[in-house]
């Protein structure tokens, strides 16, 4: 039967091999000191503590814990030992509680080897103390007894050890504390609390932070992720603003519907209140949008410089280290996209390669965009040609040498903005001029599409005539529909519909107004092509929420020689591979 001791009470011990169990609500260090007949420690070796857990007849645990089992064999102790003190101490310097007053009272119990408790003692009434002598086992007339001591020391281990007559108390206490602290650091005790979380503080963005097998794919997915995020964040903002507006209208209607309230201070107050409510919600929405946009801007700042040439802006330094690639990239940058809420944030517009749709570079004011109105038609035509050149140059640059043949149909023969392509010598043949040229080029390409389709359908790729150019084809049509007759237009529609799947791509530069004579017959052709504008214009919709995005072709900076340089490099590579 267990005897509950109160402070100062003693009890005889029937055995000499004992276990002392200590339990506390949280990790504490336990130790044992030995005293001689005068109640003093003979020297610093008369203590078992976490840094030195064994003495003859005594064993304590090496680390702080909420539960301890100390083993004591009283017969094995040196004969000079008359008293065994069981001491407990709170770990210092680990951020836990610093006094026993702040924790649940610990319990010490003495048990025999069979596990039956002989006595137990709740060490209550502790306050500012950080170390305590819990029990003492002492020799009395050749028998051992236990006494509940509960003597606390506000000065901690140092004070306790000094009380037992140890001159080097301070050093020893420091050793013990260090051992306990390093034991805690090994995370036997509860792990240190995690660093305080910073809510809504996303980590620094990293380029390529998306799924994919290659860096190209990861960057591609990341850019699309940014595109979607911006679309969604803006949609959230717009819907909140719409909601705020409609709620304000509703509340104002409510005020106005009662004739008595239409004028006067009541109406003014209600109106002011409704407006304030709207302003508050719009401010909140704006704050949320700003937070998201700031995150995307930060992401854009790390992603843009990391992009490979196929995805990069023309002013990206990667173009200066350009090399002819070995394979076609996943996608191609056709320009930049932005929304009016934050024009500074431009998302690369990446299209999968090979292009599934032809491009229509709009040299007219068909869209009626604000920007287009600022340029005269001559200027627009020149910019359209420049845009076509830049996109064609990019396409050539991302294909392996001889991977892409570019043909130009230029019925009016005014090379103009396409000059860099012609001068660099990257065209498969000189620009087709006049009606005869148009017909010949279209017939050649149509035949190619037809033959390749047949070969694919019948699985007879090796039966193609040897003079077929198996490289991808890009046909640039200048000033459409000049020089085209009905036959030519039909050929072109055939190429637009069937060409992309067998590697024949169209790029038409034209003004829809000029083709008005054809009536609605050409509408399907325009619709089949992706409209690209030489000046910023908001005609592109995203696939998620359908915002109108402003497209900017992202032309090279003025006076930049990067496009001619890249084209010369492409032409040089071509000459070395051709016999």
């Amino acid at each position: 039967m267990t005897v509950e001791l109160i402070r100062g009470q003693n009890h005889p011990l029937p055995e000499t091999r004992l276990e002392i169990r200590v339990s506390a609500g949280q990790p504490i260090a336990a130790g044992v000191t030995l005293n001689d007949e005068r109640g003093r420690m003979r020297d610093a070796t008369w203590i078992a503590h976490p840094a030195s857990p064994r003495l003859p007849g005594v064993e304590v645990s090496k680390q702080a814990a909420a539960d301890h089992r100390l083993a004591v064999d009283l017969d094995a102790l040196p004969a000079a030992v008359h008293r065994v003190n069981v001491l407990l101490a709170l770990p210092t310097g680990v951020g836990g509680p610093t006094s026993f007053g702040a924790v649940a009272p610990p319990t010490a119990a003495v048990t025999g080897l069979d596990g039956a408790a002989i006595v137990s003692y709740h060490i209550v009434d502790l306050d500012a103390e950080s170390a305590v002598v819990a029990l003492e086992l002492y020799r009395r007339n050749d028998a051992w007894k236990v006494r509940a001591v509960g003597q606390g020391f506000a000065g901690g281990l140092t004070a306790m050890l000094r009380d037992q007559g140890l001159p080097e108390a301070e050093e020893l206490a420091a050793t013990i504390n260090a051992a306990v602290a390093s034991g805690m650091a090994r995370a036997v005790a509860p792990a240190p609390p995690p660093p305080p979380a910073q809510p809504s503080q996303p980590g620094r963005p990293v380029a390529g932070d998306a799924t994919g097998w290659s860096m190209d794919e990861r960057l591609y997915n990341q850019v699309w992720g940014m595109f979607e995020d911006l679309a969604r964040a803006t949609a959230a903002y717009r819907s909140a603003v719409d909601f705020a507006d409609s709620r304000m209208d509703r509340e104002l209607d409510g005020v106005l519907s009662d004739p008595r309230n239409r004028v006067g201070p009541v109406a003014d107050a209600a109106r002011a209140k409704a407006q304030a409510k709207r302003a508050q919600l719009v401010d909140q929405a704006r704050a949320a949008l700003d937070r998201d946009v700031a995150q995307l801007v930060a992401e854009s700042e790390v992603v843009e410089p990391a992009l490979p040439p196929a995805y990069a802006r023309w002013d990206n330094p990667c173009w200066h280290a350009y090399k002819i690639p070995d394979e076609v990239p996943m996608a191609l940058r056709l320009g930049d996209l932005s929304l009016p809420e934050h024009v500074g944030l431009r998302i690369p517009m990446l299209m999968r390669m090979p292009l599934q749709r032809g491009l229509w570079i709009d040299s007219g004011r068909g869209g009626g965009g604000m920007e287009a109105a600022l340029h005269d038609s001559e200027d627009l035509r020149r910019r359209a040609a420049e845009t076509a050149t830049a996109i064609a140059a990019r396409l050539l640059a991302v294909h392996p040498a001889d991977g892409l043949s570019v043909r130009v149909i230029d019925p009016t023969g005014s090379v103009g903005g396409l000059a860099p392509l012609v001068e660099a010598g990257v065209l498969a043949e000189p620009p087709a001029v006049g009606e005869a040229g148009v017909t010949a080029t279209l017939a050649g390409l149509t035949q190619r599409v037809d033959l390749v389709q047949m070969a694919i359908r019948s699985g007879a790729g090796d039966a193609l005539p040897p003079d077929i150019d198996l490289a991808e084809q890009l046909l640039i049509v200048r000033d459409f529909p000049h020089g085209f007759d009905d036959r030519g237009v039909t050929h072109l529609r055939y190429l637009a519909d069937e060409g992309a799947s067998v590697g024949v791509h169209l790029m038409i530069i034209g003004d829809r107004e000029d083709a008005r004579a054809y009536g609605p017959l050409l509408d399907p052709l325009w619709r089949a092509l992706l409209r690209v504008t030489p000046v910023p214009d908001d005609h592109l919709a995203d696939p998620w929420v359908g915002h109108a995005w402003t497209y900017d072709p992202g032309l090279p900076p003025q006076n930049s020689q990067i496009v001619p340089r890249i084209l010369r490099q492409v032409a040089a590579a071509r000459q070395t591979t051709q016999p």
């Binding site: 979380a197 809510p199 959230a236 909601f243």
Partner: protein, 192 residues
């Protein structure tokens, strides 16, 4: 550690480390109860549908259900219709993902409902539950088990609403009747 909610109980969706939740998934799972009868082995399939109705100022502004899988702003997404249930045997049969951070600021409540599209009452459903999972780490935050399925065809499960700077979830667990969420809208109003 997951918390089993009882009807009307609310929990704060704050993480243990003080951070706020950013994305949660409301998962719904069920199994058709075995039937007695002439063809006892023939289990009748039950099609339950999870929907989330998005409210601002007690006005429904958007809804996510099997015919409109993504909210207009993209912050609430339904993973798709499951018309038989019970496939996962404890997994979620239908799930709705909510990006709490991206919800437009005017949205202040989301109510999750379950409807029996095929018209069976909840008496023919067993082991139905709805649970809220922290989507960032897959930890279950709260689980609400439908008990005592009765002669009703819909259940208003729970709502997630703004509370101070964060979000709170309240289990509602009220029976109702209706084939899709539209039938439930009047019944939702008292719980907003």
């Amino acid at each position: 550690m997951s918390l089993n909610l009882s009807k009307g109980q609310a929990i704060n969706l704050q993480k243990a480390d003080g951070g706020t939740l950013t994305a949660v998934r409301m998962g719904l799972g069920w199994q058709a109860a075995p039937r007695r009868g002439l063809f006892g082995t023939r289990t009748r399939e039950v099609d339950l549908d999870a929907s989330a109705v998005v409210f601002a100022d007690k006005q429904p502004v958007d809804v996510v259900f099997f015919q409109h899988l993504t909210s207009d702003d993209g912050s609430v997404r339904h993973t798709g219709d499951n018309r038989v249930g019970g496939a996962g045997q404890g997994g979620d049969d239908e799930a709705i993902l909510v990006d709490l951070q991206r919800l437009p600021v005017h949205v202040d409540q989301l109510v999750f409902t379950v409807n029996s599209f095929t018209g069976q009452t909840f008496a023919e459903v067993q082991q139905a539950f709805c649970r809220l999972v922290d989507e960032t780490n897959g930890q279950e935050l709260a689980r609400y088990t439908l008990t005592g399925g009765g002669a009703y065809t819909a259940q208003i499960m729970a709502k997630v609403h703004r509370q101070g700077g964060g979000w709170q979830m309240t289990a509602i667990g009220e029976p109702a009747n209706g084939r899709t969420f539209q039938d439930l809208l009047p019944a939702l109003i008292p719980y907003l």
